[in-house]
Point group: C2
Chain length 176, copies 2
């Protein structure tokens, strides 16, 4: 059962980012895990509970990428590395393995406070990791710089994915 549970959550973490929360059905998630939809409620009380679990997984995956960009490098180098990962074609064309903020934030804007708090927690933890790559005189300054950097990256990805390829390319090039 534990193995099934993990397959469900990991499949959901991918599908939610690929299609959005509303366009991902419980049946889709269960099928991706090699099961049928009826069994879902042995694992979660509601679809919302699954979304909670999946978003946590997605944020953890993003933190791992950020941490990998960081380790044992100069601040400047690691930030550049993370930035080029984030704006790469690979990242943009595979939203299922990409940043959950760029794909799901708009839907969470209309979510209940409990979900928004979880989302906020995910964002804060990413910013902490990023702040480690930022140089600045104080902790506050590094955190502010990390937030600006992250906002720009999220904005660029969000805009690029919504536009025709040509416009997308222009925006991405400007942000690198």
């Amino acid at each position: 059962m534990q193995r099934s549970h993990e397959r469900i959550v990991e499949g959901a973490a991918r599908l939610l980012r690929e299609r959005g929360v509303d366009k991902t059905s419980v049946a889709d998630v269960m099928e991706a895990a090699g099961l049928t939809h009826g069994g879902f409620y042995r694992h979660f009380d509601t679809k919302d509970a699954l979304v909670s679990a999946a978003i946590a997984t997605a944020f953890a995956q993003l933190r791992e990428v950020a941490a990998t960009s960081l380790q044992g490098k100069e601040p400047d180098v690691s930030l550049t590395l993370f930035r080029s990962y984030y704006l790469s074609d690979a990242h943009l064309n595979h939203p299922g393995e990409a940043c959950p903020v760029a794909t799901l934030a708009a839907e969470f804007a209309r979510a209940p406070p409990r979900l928004k708090s979880e989302f906020g927690k995910g964002v804060r933890r990413i910013l902490e990791v990023l702040a480690g790559c930022c140089k600045g005189t104080g902790k506050k300054q590094r955190e502010a710089q990390a937030a600006r950097e992250f906002a720009r990256l999220v904005g660029a990805a969000v805009i690029a994915r919504a536009c025709d390829p040509e416009t997308a390319k222009t925006v991405l090039a400007a942000c690198r």
Copy 2:
């Protein structure tokens, strides 16, 4: 009939940004226009056609705000003005009258190419207006700066709306 048509499109431009495309039903839009859902198909062939018209209206509204921030001011001043409008509590709490990119881009990422082209056109026209506020040696440089500025603003708004109020405040403060 023309008056009805305008009410439908303007209502849709607001509701789509407030609730998202999927969560806005044809019946909702018609009710906001003071009509019943059955009459919708005298005005549009499909819901998609309405989305097209509404997004154009929403982009036009944003351009107007941007142009107003611009007129007869120093580049630096006008950019600051636009930035503080964009990150204001009023803008963030009233998505119905706010930037369509911050609210709808994620959904357009999964839209057919025709809609993405229209979205891209809207983005390009906004960037043109913003480039007028940017100083730089050449046209290319000003456009690139406008794109970076816009990406940061969109990212900040998207992140802030999805998080708990405290996290939102931190991110917004850092981006101002």
